[in-house]
Each structure stands twice: as C-alpha cells, then as structure tokens.
C-alpha cells in the first residue's frame, strides 16, 4: 500500500511536471535584421507583445548571412525551443530540412509554404494590399508616373510590384509605372544607399510617388523622397511616422499579429499545422491611415480605396497574383 502510494505520488509529480513544461518559443529573423523598420521589425513587435502579455521570454537569432539559416533553426530545435518561428521566404528550404529531423517540434514560417505535418505556413496576399496603395499613388501623382523599388528580385517582390501596378492603372488608366529592383542577392534587403539612388533615378524619370517593398533598403528610399519633396509609400509595418508629410501611406502586412498568434496558439493548444492565406478579407494586409498622413489623403482618395477594398473582398475586382503564373499583365 505504502509502495503504491509512493508510485502514485511519483506519477502525479511526473505528470504535473510534464504539464508545466514551460513554453520556449524561438524566432529566427531574416536578413535585414529585426530593426529594419519594416518586415522583420513587424515580427519583432509581435513577439515582444507576446512576451509582455505572457511573461514568457523567447530565444531569437538574426541571420546576417544566408548560410546561417539552417544552422540557426536547427540550433533552436536542438535546444528544445517550441514553437520555432522562421521569418521570410528564404528560410523555407532550411526549415523544411530541420522540420523533417524534429517531427515533435512545431514550426511556423511566414511568407513561404512548407508542406509538412509539423509546419504552419502563413502567407499573405500582398498583391491585394499593394493594389490599394497603387491606387493611392496614382491618384496622388501630379506627373502621372509612379515608382516602385523592390528589394531582392524574387517572385514575392514581383507580386507586390504587380499588385501595385494594377492598382495604379485601375485608378488612373494612363499612369506610367517605373520599377526597379535593388539587387539579386539578400544584401538587397539592406542597401539604403542603393535604394536612395534608385528612388532619385525614378524621380528624374518623372515619378513623384514611390513605393518601396525592400525591407531596410526602404529607409534610403523614404529619405530620398523627403529630400526631393516627393511622396513615398512604406511597407510591411506602418512606416508613416518616419517622415510625416512625405509618407503617403504604408502597405501594412500583419506579420506581427501572425507571429503573436503563432506563439499564442502553441501556448493555448490551438496551433494548427497547414497553410493560412491572409488577404484583405482576413485583415492580413491593409493600408495605413493615421494622424501622420491624414492630410495627404483626400476624402475622394479614401472613398475610392475603400470602395476598391470592398470590391476585392466581395470578388468584384480580382487582383492578379504574379506568383500564380509568373507574369504581370499590367507591367
């Protein structure tokens, strides 16, 4: 009897300790770094919010070199971090390898799809959000020319570009869209010098509104717009506050909410593997309207964009997705 009791206590103790296994979330940021004021920073703010609300700290790593990705994700998994959140399309291959080796660990990835039973993939319909800011750009432009500065030349960024061009042409049919990509290596996410130079070249070619979807490179684009007295459009995070008066708007992508939900989901047991696609209808993408840019957006522009937004959600306007066939009808 005594022995049975002892075993029971031991079992209870074991069970309770198992239940109390603390959540050890981890996040691997991508090139550009968590202070890129854009994509990675949105994630950073989301996971910080999680930390503040739950008191659970998280491990983090900032990738500064493409070869570190797999190593970083693997190390997190080895240290029994759960869930592991990987940021950016470029981490997909690395994550796929590691997720196969750690079937018991939950992985989430933003901006890419990895089809494994322990991976949650979160992707956004950037073309829908870009469509709306494209409309704003075209309506704001005096010169009937708008610019686009992309980061690394990848299909995802072309999806932004294509959505933007469609929106611009939807609002003003004869608008000229000038597009540039910063580079073809991951360093293109963090080259504000080049970004500024690209923006200036577009101003020289007549553009007076420029949309940057380029992570940290965008900082240079917004600065160039401010110096030249033109308008710029931010991306991923709400960047309107950076240069009030010349930031026309920002195409926001709720990466922070997605990251927060990934951590929270594991904590509450609601986390599910699979793909979730967040568009305008789900509130995954949007355009920023706040005290910093409300003087730049006229009531007409606002109404037109809101109408288009409703039409996209209802399916009346279909925004072509570049990644569906790697072609863009509007460019």
């Amino acid at each position: 009897m005594k022995r049975q009791l002892l075993m029971l206590t031991a079992a209870v103790a074991f069970a309770s300790s198992a239940a109390a296994v603390e959540l050890k979330p981890a996040v691997v940021f991508d090139m550009g770094g968590k202070f890129d004021k854009s994509f990675n920073q949105g994630v950073y703010e989301g996971v910080e919010r999680f930390k503040k609300e739950t008191g659970i700290t998280y491990r983090e790593f900032e990738v500064t070199n493409p070869s570190q990705r797999e190593q970083a994700i693997r190390k997190m998994a080895q240290r029994e971090a759960n869930p592991v959140l990987a940021i950016g399309f470029a981490q997909a291959t690395a994550l796929e390898k590691v997720a196969k080796d750690f079937p018991g660990t939950k992985f989430s990835i933003i901006d890419a799809v990895v089809s494994l039973p322990n991976v949650q993939s979160i992707v956004f319909k950037e073309h829908e959000g870009s469509f709306l800011v494209g409309m704003l750009a075209a309506m704001k432009s005096q010169t009937k020319a708008v610019g686009f500065v992309g980061g690394m030349d990848i299909p995802l960024i072309r999806r932004f570009n294509c959505g933007y061009a469609q929106g611009a042409k939807y609002a003003v049919s004869d608008v000229n869209v000038i597009s540039n990509m910063t580079g073809s290596t991951p360093s293109a996410w963090n080259d504000p010098v080049k970004g500024g130079e690209l923006a200036r070249s577009q101003f020289d070619r007549g553009a007076d509104v420029v949309f940057a979807a380029a992570g940290g490179t965008g900082v240079g684009v917004y600065q160039a717009a401010k110096d030249a007295g033109k308008y710029a459009i931010g991306v991923d995070s709400n960047q309107n506050h950076m240069h009030p008066g010349t930031m026309l708007t920002s195409m926001t992508k709720q990466v922070g909410v997605a990251s927060y939900n990934a951590f929270k989901g594991v904590k509450e047991g609601t986390w599910q593997a699979g793909v979730s696609v967040l568009g305008l209808a789900e509130g995954g993408v949007s355009w920023a309207y706040d005290e910093h840019n409300k003087d730049l957006i006229t009531a007409e522009m606002k109404a037109a964009v809101e109408k288009a937004q409703a039409d996209i959600i209802s399916g009346k306007i279909v925004v072509h997705d570049y990644m569906s066939n790697n072609e863009c009808p509007s460019l």
Partner: protein, 324 residues
C-alpha cells in the same frame, strides 16, 4: 531631343553622387599605396568613419562635428594599420582585412550598445546632415537651354562633401607631384633604401601617408552616412572601398586617371539603375548583373595587360627594414 539631354544630365548628376565616395577612397588609397603600403582597408576605414559621423551627428546635431569624428576615427584605424605593418612589419593585406573585419563588427556592436536599434543610428535631420548647396546664380541661369541645365543640375546642387571630394584630386596631384613631401612619398614606394640613405625616415613618411589615407576615408564615410543618407546602417559601405581600390589600379595609381576610373565606375552604376528593365535598340535588355560586374571585369582585363599596363609602385607590400 531635350528629353534626351535631361536624361543624360540626370544620369551624370547621379554619377557625381555615386562617384564621390569612390574618388575620396581612391585618393586615400593613392597616398597609401604610393608610399608602399597596400590598402585593402579602405572599406573598413570608410565604414568606421560612416558610423562615427552618424553617431556624433546624432548626439551633437552638428554635421561638421560628425565629419570631424569620422576623420578622427578613420585616422585611428589607419594608424592601427600603420602600427601593424610599418612598425611591426606585418603582412599588409592581412592587416587591411583585419581593419575591414574590425570595422564591420565594431560598428554594429557599438551601434547596438549605444542606440538600441540593431546597429543603426537614429535618423538625422536639419543641421545634423550636409545639405545640397545652390551655387550662386544657379536659379538665374536655369532657363538658359542646355548650359543652364548643366550648371543648375549638374554642377550646382550638391552637398559640401561632393565639392571637397572633387577638390581633393588636384590637391592630391599637387601634393604628390609638386612638393618635396610628394617626391619622397613616391620614392619611398619605389626604393625605400634610397630614401633611407638620404637620411629621411621611411617609417615617418609612410605613417604620414596612411594618415592622409585615413583622413580621406573619413570624409568618404561621413558622406555616406550624413550627406547621401541620414543614418548609419550596418555594412552601408557595400564594397565601395574595393571598387575604389579597383579604380585606383585601373587608374594606374595616378590622381587624374584614377578620377576618370572612379567617374567611369560611378557612371556605370548610375546607368545600371536607369537601364534596368529598359530595352535598348539593337542590343535589347542588358542584365543589371553584367553592368554591376563591369568595374571588376575591366580591372581584371587591365591587370591581364590588355588595356595599357598598370605598374604598381615597386616596393608595394614589402615592409621596410634597415640593413642588418
């Protein structure tokens, strides 16, 4: 036609902006290499200067203090290079690479510690930056066809550091070819024994040369972070130091030809940006990567002996030690 002129002028205008750090670094490299010290560390000195300029300008709100800090820090790095490879006769390439790695790591680390923005410095505005200067009469002649546009857009309207960069070229030429210091500088890069025999300190001459290099790299760094841009960002020099070195070699270690090489490389970069996605008549679309690689390709072709001949200073890379 007038459209074409406007595009040409705006491309040349961009060339000037892009070439400025190259010119400063190439002149810096010229001093150093002409004295016999290989300077791979242009990149690192420029990066350290960029960080110092942005950090001090952010704290004090003065662009000129930022420039001073950039020059100071860059000279310190140059002296470190000098200490390793002049005093201690270390390998100059290794020391230069060490400078680059040191700058790359230290700037980010200090940036995180001081500003808590992941290695960036706060965005600068107002007096903390160098703004473009309108030269006298720029507005008055703006309407004159062609010449007016050239004056207002191309020559006027740059920031102070751009004009300083272009002035360093004749100053460098004068110093290297017209002064006693320059004569000795060139001699020490060709035949240090002879200079030593004449009773002139080889070490002190070479130290002065690397200090000049540090000064110019500091200005280049300040240009990047507080004139062309408004904050320091990790690795913002993005290989410009190496391109400048290539330009120096392409320019055969001479000020005027090095300037032309810098302008050519800058022009290629400005053109890359403008030609992206534009189909040219006859040729079609030129891949951006090809244009970006052109400076390096040209330098390799030159070194292989196809375009004239680039002869390096004879004593370059060899640490000097007195006869034992």
């Amino acid at each position: 036609m007038s459209d074409f002129i406007l595009i040409a002028i705006s491309t040349l205008d961009a060339t000037i902006r892009v070439s400025t750090p190259l010119i400063l670094c190439a002149m810096a490299g010229l001093f150093s290499e002409r004295s016999g010290i290989v300077d791979i560390g242009l990149e690192g000195k420029m990066l350290a200067g960029a960080f110092a300029a942005a950090a001090i300008a952010a704290v004090t709100g003065s662009a000129w203090l930022g420039l001073g800090a950039a020059i100071g820090v860059s000279i310190c790095m140059a002296l470190l290079h000098g200490f390793a490879c002049i005093t201690h006769k270390g390998n100059q390439v290794v020391s230069g690479l060490a400078i680059n790695i040191l700058a790359s790591g230290l700037t980010v680390t200090l940036g995180i510690a001081w500003f808590h923005q992941g290695g960036q410095t706060p965005l600068l505005s107002g007096d903390a930056r160098f703004f473009s200067i309108d030269l006298p009469g720029a507005l008055a002649v703006a309407d004159v066809p062609v010449l007016g546009a050239i004056y207002t857009q191309l020559i006027s309207g740059h920031n102070a550091l751009v004009y300083i960069a272009f002035m360093t070229v004749p100053v460098t030429w004068w110093l290297v070819y017209q002064t006693r210091f320059g004569l000795r500088l060139r001699a020490v890069g060709e035949n240090p024994q002879a200079v030593d025999t004449a009773g002139i300190s080889v070490f002190w001459l070479r130290y002065r040369a690397v200090i000049c290099a540090g000064l110019l790299c500091g200005i280049a760094g300040a240009y990047l972070s507080i004139a062309q841009n408004a904050s320091f960002i990790r690795e913002m020099s993005a290989g410009k130091g190496y391109i400048a070195l290539a330009a120096l070699i392409f320019g055969k270690w001479r000020p005027k030809t090095a300037l032309l090489a810098c302008l050519l490389f800058g022009f290629l970069e400005a053109l890359t940006v403008r030609l992206e996605g534009v189909a040219l008549p006859l040729i079609g679309e030129v891949p951006a990567q090809l244009m970006q690689a052109t400076p390096y390709i040209l330098t390799v072709v030159l070194l292989a002996g196809f375009i004239g001949k680039a002869i390096a200073p004879k004593a370059i890379g060899i640490p000097y030690s007195k006869e034992r």
